[in-house]
Symmetry: C2
């Protein structure tokens, strides 16, 4: 299960690491679209867009269906829950670490103050 | 500003697309660590770990400081706010798309029911 989640996160974070692919997901969040429409929208060749859609499809973020000569793309069944959970966990650890730092800084300030008083 | 955010997201999602690098961030969320400690912890060569830390540092997720012969790694000043915001926005679009789908399915069901009644 852990290994499965790690593989899913590897693939989806890699898929999200490109501005065009993030743009495609935003576009498909508004409406389904053909590869041709997406290629035009992002000023890209059909081959280039097919590659990007392939990466998103591999990560389960997009699904495609070919009817006749048109391949239609739509959002996949995965909704980025694992990704959101990982980021949230990290943000909590991160905030806790910086809170600790705040405490240390506060202690140093108090000590500085106390030393200042003694010197007077 | 948009271009800046896109570049930040490219770098940090790419940094997050590797299980070892995510592990390093989790580790540094608990305590600062030297490159040597991290290499041992993740059963990796020093050179391999230096590369991973380099990627995390480039993305602003880790900062390092060399004192004497030891390079210590700690969490960077960035806390994944932009990444969390992007994922949250996508999840909302995604949920809305699937809600729309639910409505269509519900309408089809109602129509089916109505047709069934007419036939009787």
């Amino acid at each position: 299960m852990v290994q499965y989640t790690e593989t899913v996160l590897d693939a989806s974070f890699a898929a999200l690491s490109d501005a065009t692919r993030r743009g495609v997901l935003e576009q498909l969040g508004r409406a389904d679209a053909s590869i041709t429409t997406l290629a035009q929208r992002f000023h890209m060749t059909l081959t280039g867009m097919k590659k990007h859609v392939g990466v998103l499809e591999q990560a389960g973020l997009v699904s495609t269906e070919k009817i006749g000569r048109v391949r239609t793309c739509k959002l996949g069944l995965r909704g980025l829950e694992e990704e959101a959970a990982w980021i949230e966990k990290h943000r909590r650890l991160w905030a806790a670490r910086f809170d600790e730092l705040d405490i240390v800084v506060e202690e140093l300030k108090q000590r500085e103050k106390a030393n200042g008083r003694k010197k007077r």
